[in-house]
Amino acid sequence: MVPEGIMALIQILLFPGFLFLIALAFFHEWVDRKLLAKLQNRYGPLYTGPAGLLQPFADFIKLLSKEDITPKAADKFMFSCAPLFMLSFPLLALFLIPVTGLTASISFEGDLIFLMFLFTLIAITIFIAGWSSVSRFSTVGGVRAAFQMLGYEIPMTLVMVGPAIAARTLSISQIVGWQTHNAAWFIWLQPIGFAIFVLCLLAELEFIPFDIPEAETEIVAGWFTEFSGRKLALIRLGKDVELVLAASLITSLFLGGPNSSLPILATGFFLLKTTLAVVLFTTLRALFARFRIDQMIAGAWKYLIPLAILQMVLIQLGFGRW
């Protein structure tokens, strides 16, 4: 009935594709801001849309309508490309995550490795954005982002490989399939791995304990000080989509993902679990003060990496395997 091509197009553009993901990004930013405000004994956005639901959308549209300034001294080409990369990498990565069933839109053996590569690319885009806008504050922010990547990249990769070894596959869809098949989520099988993964994702998202690259009190707005107007809108959307990516990664790797093949039920589970993951991120964000960059890297190398290796050893000994 409907030819194959159009179905694929709809899948990419509409349902589990751009529109759905961007709407989910706005929804998750709303959840994040409202919960953070509640934890800080405040209301948070109230008047734009029902209970402030459309606030992130309003911010995005307003930024689109603002004047877009490129500093004279900035490196023009990279300065305008960085926001585009910042948005496209997380969106691309999200196609690897199963949303409406046990298999994602794109799933091939080894897409977990491809995902890790995308994470590194995001960190490099942040560095390029900071470096190309040449403002003193953004250069410091960019360099700090690069340093922070050195800190969290290794433990994160080690811990992401945990479930892959247990499920003996390198494809996220199969990991989700394995978890639903054996009805055993990796959060119970590899708790240490889960904890480290959450911490590393916090660092990757630059949330409070690790928001060193954009530490407001030290370096104004960090690596994206110079961006304004459309570019800033794209960067903020990119960061929101990154939040969705982090939450959906936790869901698929550790919380069993959409563990049913029926599309409606699967999406329902997926939404529920990702929102739970965002709630977890926000609560952690509200409870900590910001670390110094050297403390963060020292902490990562002294504690996270040994723990990640311990987790790997445990899997080998058969604990995380079932």
Binding site: L39, Q40, K72, A73, V140, E218, R290
Partner: protein, 392 residues
């Protein structure tokens, strides 16, 4: 090989620093090699303006030297002029001035705790402390009608009286304030992230503190027992028992504890003062023309020793009036603390001495403006510096 030292600007416009201040850091790698604060942004030339205003008009101007320690400035001013006039203000006025001074100290310390928490990125504690600060702001508004500039002091006494219902409301407010501050002190002691960012940071040894003439909580956090309220008692402090708080860890966390304990002391002082509030007038007539004379008056402002020097020539306008605010006394010690530390520690160490550049700036100090950037080669940064700060 050592990197070329880079100049790091810090200010003048800063998202959460209330006032424009501007520090030039020479940085080698991540370590601060030398510090040159440069302010002058808030220098309004107040001393010159004081000389061509009458004594009553000066009350309005001196109160606006600083938003947070406005009562301390007016107490110091009225004390100096009353000393030259040889006038003794009624005891009830002295007690009311003390109550307002201690309420202002509580207000300042709560505000400082919130700002310090914000400096190290602890948003939630900033929101909580500033929410509880509203209690003391309401009390001050109840007493004087305004949240910040209270205009309670006038030459010869106080403008408004304290009625028994207000006393009752203050007592309830104080219980809440004391209980909340105990909770925040417990957090400051136990929360690992705070101690990670404030423990052992910005060390000021007692020897340096004395040599560089530090004042207030910064001095008392280095173990030296100096407090103008106890050493050189003024208004009603000689009749109220209280003890001077000192900690001897000489770092930012001990400055935090000194301020927390001072809130408890202030609460007890206010309770004692309200119980022993003497009856009688709250103001006496004071002649407009002040005889010739001079006076030095000192007050323990929330940030440290505040000193005013007044010289009058028998007319209705002062001949010369000098104000030295506590922050200016602490800046040499601040430079000493910053050298050798990390760049990321700069905000919390600066916040440690609770700088009030509005007071300081009617004075000034060490030159060289500053920039804040990290290592990397100096060339690219200089290219941008020309655009960012044309003053360079």
């Amino acid at each position: 090989m050592s990197y070329p030292t880079i100049r790091i600007p810090f200010g003048p416009q800063h998202p959460f620093h209330i006032e424009p201040e501007y520090f030039m850091f020479e940085v080698d790698g991540e370590r601060v090699v030398s510090v040159k604060p440069r302010i002058g942004y808030v220098h309004r030339g107040i001393e010159k303006a004081i000389e061509d205003r009458t004594f009553i008009q000066n009350l309005y101007l001196i109160e606006r030297i600083c938003g947070i320690c406005s009562h301390a400035h007016t107490t110091c001013y009225t004390q100096a002029i009353e000393e030259i006039l040889g006038v003794e203000i009624p005891p009830r006025a002295r007690f009311i001035r003390t109550i307002i001074a201690e309420l202002e100290r509580i207000h300042n310390h709560y505000l400082w705790l919130g700002l310090a928490a914000h400096e190290i990125g602890f948003e939630t504690l900033f929101m909580y402390t500033w929410r509880d600060r509203e209690i003391v702001m309401d009390l001050l508004e109840l007493l004087s009608g305004n949240r910040v500039h209270y205009a309670m002091n006038t030459l010869g006494g106080v403008r408004r009286d304290i009625t028994p219902e207000i006393v009752e409301k203050i007592r309830k407010g104080l219980d809440a304030l004391e209980e909340r501050m105990r909770y925040y002190k417990k957090i400051a002691m136990t929360e690992p992230t705070i101690s990670k960012r404030a423990n052992g940071i910005g060390i000021l040894k007692p020897k340096d503190a004395l040599a560089l003439c530090a004042v207030g909580p910064t001095l008392r956090a280095s173990g030296i027992k100096r407090d103008v309220r106890a050493d050189d008692p003024y208004i009603a402090y000689s009749e109220i028992p209280f003890n001077v708080i000192t900690y001897d860890r000489c770092d930012v966390i001990s400055r935090l504890f000194v301020r927390c304990d001072e809130v408890f002391e202030s609460v007890n002082i206010i309770r004692y003062a309200m119980e022993h509030l003497p009856e009688g007038k709250i103001r006496i007539k004071v002649p407009r023309r002040v005889p010739e004379g001079e006076a030095v008056s000192r007050v323990e402002a929330p940030r440290g020793e505040l000193i005013h020097y007044a010289k009058t020539n028998g007319t209705t306008k002062p001949e010369r009036y000098k104000v030295r605010s506590p922050t200016l006394g602490n800046i040499p010690s601040l430079c000493k603390m910053l050298v050798g530390g990390y760049i990321a520690d700069i905000p919390i160490v600066i916040a440690g001495i609770d700088p009030c550049f509005s007071c300081t700036d009617r004075m000034a100090f060490v030159n060289v403006n500053n920039n804040k950037q990290w290592i990397l080669s100096g060339e690219e940064l200089r290219r941008y510096a020309i655009k960012w700060y044309r003053k360079e």
